[in-house]
């Protein structure tokens, strides 16, 4: 059997980074899928890219600047309308600091 490119422990670590709670059977399924896909993407190693610059952007716009002036002032009630929990104009979250 071909060696795994990713272990269950690595899957758990990545799930923690991605803030995804995966059930144990889900973890194994994801591990298997990732293993298959990672095996596939290894074909990129057939290419010698040592002298090739990376492409991060394909647009030509660069980084346009503007003055630091408020141009959009949304209403607080509009911004809170979708909040799962809000109170007196604040988003409510579980306690973080004791």
């Amino acid at each position: 059997m071909a060696e795994s490119r990713i272990s269950l422990e690595q899957v758990r670590h990545v799930a923690r980074l991605a803030r995804l709670a995966l059930a144990p059977d889900e973890q194994e399924r994801v591990r298997r899928d990732m293993d298959e896909i990672l095996a596939y993407v290894e074909k990129l190693n057939e290419l010698d890219t040592s002298a090739v610059p990376p492409t991060a952007q394909v647009g030509e716009a660069g980084t346009p600047m503007r003055d630091d002036v408020v141009t959009c002032a949304p209403r607080a009630d509009e911004m809170l309308a979708n909040a799962p929990a809000n109170e007196r104009g604040y988003f409510k979250v579980p306690k973080i600091i004791d």
Binding site: E26, M34, T49, A56, Q57, G59, P84, V93
Partner: protein, 486 residues
């Protein structure tokens, strides 16, 4: 007595509206009647805005009563549910945004509202744009109007099906790896992915920000040209958006392709391709030659690496873009003992399997120790793919290829193995990596009567040439537009 007004093109509607022979209200009602009739079978829409559409149509008719109404005034459109529409639920095909009502309009939506367009509703899609069949929607798949046991394609399957079934006159989609072009091909309609940065992405729920592009679905290339003109243009809210002036694309549709140099990449005619797809595209090339174009075989040598590069770059960008869905400011929330648990549980409950898979892959590709081997490597291969096209366009004006290796596959046929689904993107994906314009248009039907699409690819900002070539082929009448049987 059902009106057939929903079956006309945007160009035809524009003329009839201005001559006062029809009203936007009649046009809109015809579309809504059709929606009511076929939606139980198709599931192209997540939300239909009947009341708002009628109001918009009435307002459009008032504007049309005096001269100078904008191009899309009174035209009924369907909008992919990835576009933020103020006051109208925008789900992006996901449970995590099931009840999300944006407090703002995407720039292109605001532009269309200003013109007086009518919005029939928000169309179904693969969750967050991740998929090629609309089977990854949290709200059920959209079926192909030509054969209900088959997929409409994805991720913009709802918009493609809505146009094919005449539920609207045109629609908006979004394309990251083929999500406009592939469903267009599967549903037998025109679909355009403009040059990256041609159209503002502000307010379009992001999947992969260096790949996403907004574009129209239409019943003709002329209609797509009309729509592009209204959509394109600079936007201070999207810093990647191009400042180049927007041409009158319709004016470029001269019907003349004499001397046009068309390149055919040999890597796009692969083993395992459906035979009728290949023969339909080759027949289209013969048609172009008979109209005076020159057709030559070329090579895009890094084609085979595009899918691998894409599924590292797109997933990496997606893992960052989807980090915002945390149950705090909007969307689904599942409570937890602390904030971390809240995030973990909210995201586990709100995201479907494919989305989770891609977030995991992207997070891994960007993580310490793996960034160079995966993400950076993919970015370098992206450069090679881009260079392939640059070299090709030194010898050719445009490239013509198939859109997909097959016609619409059956529901459930490709869902057991994610990689099988990914491999069907082979002909569309490089175009996003290189940021080029790609037009999909019908070029035939297979032995089962399923539509076949061909793709015209051009250099950056060559939409006038791409649309001219597509329109010329369409007008030559080599392929009849068959009404969907639904």
């Amino acid at each position: 007595m059902a009106s057939e007004l929903n079956t006309i093109t945007v160009a035809a509607a524009q003329a009839l509206l201005r001559k006062r022979e029809i009203s936007s209200l009649e046009l809109t009602r015809a579309c809504l009647d059709r929606v009511r009739a076929v939606e139980p079978k198709l599931n192209a829409f997540i939300n239909v805005s009947e009341r708002e559409a009628i109001e918009q149509a009435r307002a459009a008719d008032r504007r049309l009563a005096s001269d100078g109404a904008a191009a899309l005034c009174g035209i009924p459109l369907a909008i992919k549910d990835a576009y933020c529409t103020r006051g109208v639920a925008t789900t992006c095909g996901s449970r995590i945004l099931e009840k999300f009502v944006p407090p703002f309009d995407a720039t292109v939506i605001a532009k269309l509202r200003d013109e007086g367009a009518v919005f029939i509703g928000k169309t179904n899609m693969d969750e967050f744009g991740m998929g090629s069949s609309t089977e990854n929607s949290a709200f059920g798949p959209t079926l192909n109007p030509h054969e209900l046991g088959r997929v409409a394609g994805g991720s913009s399957g709802g918009s493609a099906a809505a146009v094919a079934a005449d539920e609207c006159l045109a629609a908006l989609g979004e394309d990251t790896g083929g999500s406009i072009r592939e469903p267009a091909a599967f549903c037998g309609v025109v679909g355009l992915k403009p040059t990256y940065s041609r159209v503002s992405r502000y307010g379009i729920i992001a999947y992969a920000s260096s790949l996403d592009q907004v574009g129209p679905f239409a019943k003709s290339v002329r209609d797509a040209s009309i729509l592009l003109r209204s959509l394109a243009g600079i936007d201070p809210n999207d810093s990647t958006c191009s400042a180049r002036p927007v041409p009158d694309y319709e004016r470029a549709l001269t019907g003349d392709v004499k001397g046009l140099r068309i390149g055919v990449p040999r890597e796009y005619f692969v083993e395992g391709m459906q035979r009728s797809v290949e023969s339909a595209v080759r027949a289209a090339l013969k048609q172009y030659e008979s109209m005076g174009a020159k057709v030559d075989e070329i090579s895009l040598p890094h084609t085979d690496y595009a899918i691998a590069a894409y599924y590292l770059i797109a997933t990496a960008e997606a893992s960052a873009n989807l980090a915002r869905y945390d149950g705090i400011r909007y969307g689904l929330r599942v409570e937890g003992a602390n904030n971390i648990e809240l995030y973990d549980r909210t995201r586990a409950a709100g995201f479907g399997a494919e989305v989770k898979r891609r977030i995991m892959l992207g997070t891994f590709a960007l993580s310490a120790g793996y960034y160079d081997a995966y993400y950076l490597k993919a970015q370098k291969v992206r450069t090679l793919i881009r260079q392939d096209f640059e070299r090709a366009f030194e010898r050719c004006d445009l490239l013509v290829t198939p859109v997909a290796p097959t016609t619409a596959f059956r529901i459930g046929e490709k869902t057991t193995d994610p990689l099988t689904m990914y491999l069907s993107d082979i002909f569309t994906i490089s175009v996003n990596l290189a940021g080029l314009p790609g037009l999909a248009l019908p070029c035939g039907y297979d032995e089962n009567g399923l539509p076949i699409g061909m793709q015209i690819i051009g250099p950056p900002f060559s939409e006038e040439n791409v649309l001219r070539a597509g329109d010329a082929y369409e007008r030559a009448g080599a392929v009849e537009r068959r009404t969907a049987k639904v």
